[in-house]
């Protein structure tokens, strides 16, 4: 009898915390105004929707565009990518995990250790040579590693982690 009462009290407490926490956390991140191109869920502390952070293109680019000129196994020459640094985005959502599962529009899925973002200036690129990445150009978001400045990245695992047509991240 008492345990059931305890459980009920705990539920009420939880509802209060969630109900109050939602609007409080939403203060940290603005609401997207345009079409959402990226959702981040999992072990994050800053959200703008129930349990997740949603980004439209403008919100993402407002975090600060960084330039990265590099070759990739799938492009000609050394294009210049522009996008938000992965580590900066992780800080913006208050990621607390050790890895992130990246899911693409084509249902491709890959797991990336967060340490990668600390070690390398990995980009969530939204532009290539100044042009916005469309779905046809592996957009709207393409995870780009600095292949040119780090020759050791030319391997199969890094290819697998270079997710294009990225649609959501789940921090673990």
């Amino acid at each position: 009898m008492s345990s059931r009462l305890g459980a009920r009290l705990a539920l009420i407490g939880l509802a209060l915390v969630v109900g109050m926490g939602g609007p409080l956390r939403a203060d940290g991140l603005p609401r997207p105004k345009d079409r959402v191109i990226l959702t981040i869920a999992g072990a994050i502390t800053h959200t703008n929707a129930p349990g997740q952070a949603e980004f439209d293109r403008a919100m993402l680019e407002q975090l600060g565009l960084t330039r990265l000129r590099t070759w990739t196994p799938w492009t000609e020459g050394e294009p210049e990518f522009q996008g938000v640094l992965a580590r900066r985005l992780m800080a913006a959502v208050g990621a607390t995990g050790t890895a992130v599962r990246a899911l693409a529009l084509n249902d491709f899925e890959s797991t990336i250790p967060l340490a990668d973002f600390e070690r390398y200036p990995v980009l969530l690129a939204t532009r290539i040579d100044g042009k916005q990445l469309a779905v046809r150009d592996k957009g709207p978001i393409w995870i780009v590693y600095p292949w040119s400045s780090h020759p050791e990245l030319d391997d199969l695992p890094t290819r697998r982690k270079s997710v294009w047509q990225l649609s959501s991240l789940h921090v673990q």
Binding site: P73, T75, V135, R159, W164
Partner: protein, 407 residues
């Protein structure tokens, strides 16, 4: 991979003894193992080059093929008014498929396709550009438009499928650089294979040689042991059993006689006046005479009798398996008679005679020592009786049968 051996190492290798056989063997075995490991490593390298070349290309083509089929599925869903497939979802599938095609034309991972299938891919992109306005204008439940677009997409499946098959069999098609690298790897691997063959052959040869040598040594050792054994039991001059073997044979003969209830006769023989021969003609002739005497005595014996040289000019015969004692006297007579004719040694003719003492078992004695002692006594008596005769031991003064042969 030339290895220069220092002069000292060569000397050590050529030094007789265990190191030459086992050191060389170990070195060749090591070489063989080394070639095996290197060859395995090369094979893996070859395999990796192959996988990297074909694997990436294959992945990219099969992904494009997969996305086309999903697009085709989305088209059906949209045309039939399925709620999961609105225009936006359909166009997204269209864009995703489109995005897979440039991947087949640029970058390092599609090098093989770029060589063999670029034209096919370019035609596919052109076709997509042509289809795009029609796809955007398509409304749900437009059966004719759906059929036309579906036919367009289905036409694309076939060349893509062929690309997949082509890439699978693309072993030979690659850039000049890759071709050279591949040939280099093939060449190196062939070298290592030759190394395996050569060192393996050498190893087998060495092992065969080693086993032959061991077998020869074994045969030699066995023969040497047999010779030593023979020398220990035989007189080197006449090759007759010596005192040691004689004692052994006598024991055996007595035991056999016990079992069978038979007699054994022991004859002690002595060459008369041998010392004179030695003094007169020298030791060489004396030795040759002893050999001739032994041969002549032997002609009187059966296979089962034992003739031994006990030392100097003294011989003994063990005559076993006797049913009655008389046979002993017959043998002594036969031996004396055999010396009726002089012995010829080259130009020399030496008249030789023997004295013989005979004792019988178990009639006279029941131990080998006593039997021998009685035979010696009888021999002494024969000599006293004027030599060239035989004497059978008797308990009372040993007279017995005695005979002086002719000559």
């Amino acid at each position: 991979m030339a290895v220069e051996l220092p002069a000292r190492a060569v000397k050590t290798l050529l030094r007789p003894g265990w190191f030459r056989s086992y050191g060389l063997l170990a070195a060749v075995a090591l070489l063989f193992t080394g070639f095996l490991v290197l060859s395995f490593y090369k094979l893996r390298q070859q395999h990796e080059v192959e996988l990297q070349d074909v694997g990436m290309n294959f992945w990219l083509v099969s992904q494009a093929d997969y996305e086309l089929q999903r697009l085709r599925h989305a088209l059906d869903g949209y045309a039939l008014g399925h709620p999961d497939y609105d225009r936006e979802a359909l166009m997204q599938r269209f864009d995703i498929f489109w995005s897979r095609l440039p991947l087949l034309l640029e970058g390092t991972d599609s090098a093989l396709i770029q060589e063999s299938g670029a034209a096919v891919v370019t035609r596919l992109i052109d076709a997509l550009e042509g289809i795009e306005p029609d796809l955007q204008a398509l409304t749900p439940h437009d059966a004719a438009g759906h059929r036309r677009l579906a036919a367009e997409f289905d036409r694309m499946l076939e060349p893509l499928h062929r690309l997949v098959v082509d890439v699978e069999s693309l072993g030979g098609i690659r850039t000049q650089e890759q071709r050279l690298r591949r040939r280099q790897l093939d060449f190196e691997h062939a070298g290592y294979l030759l190394g395996i063959l050569a060192s393996g052959g050498l190893l087998i040869g060495l092992l065969v040689r080693e086993s032959r040598r061991t077998r020869a040594l074994l045969v030699e050792a066995t023969a040497a042991r047999a010779r030593i054994e023979h020398l220990a039991h035989h007189d080197p001059l006449t090759d007759l059993p010596n005192r040691l073997l004689f004692a052994d044979r006598l024991d055996q003969a007595l035991r056999r006689a016990d079992r069978a209830g038979e007699f054994v006769a022991l004859h002690c023989l002595d060459v008369d006046h041998f010392k004179a021969v030695n003094d007169c003609y020298g030791h060489v002739v004396g030795d040759r005479l002893l050999i001739a005497v032994a041969e002549r005595i032997a002609t009187c014996l059966r296979q089962s009798d034992t003739l031994a040289r006990l030392g100097g000019d003294e011989f003994a015969i063990i005559q076993g398996g006797l049913r009655e004692p008389g046979a002993a006297l017959q043998l002594a007579e036969r031996v004396l008679a055999a010396f009726g004719e002089a012995i010829s040694l080259d130009a020399l003719r030496i008249s030789t005679a023997l004295s013989i003492g005979v004792s019988l078992y178990p009639t006279h004695a029941t131990t080998p020592a006593a039997l021998q002692s009685f035979a010696d006594d009888a021999l002494y008596r024969a000599k006293s009786n004027g030599r060239s005769c035989f004497c059978l031991w008797t308990p009372d003064g040993m007279v017995g049968a005695s005979q002086v042969p002719a000559g």
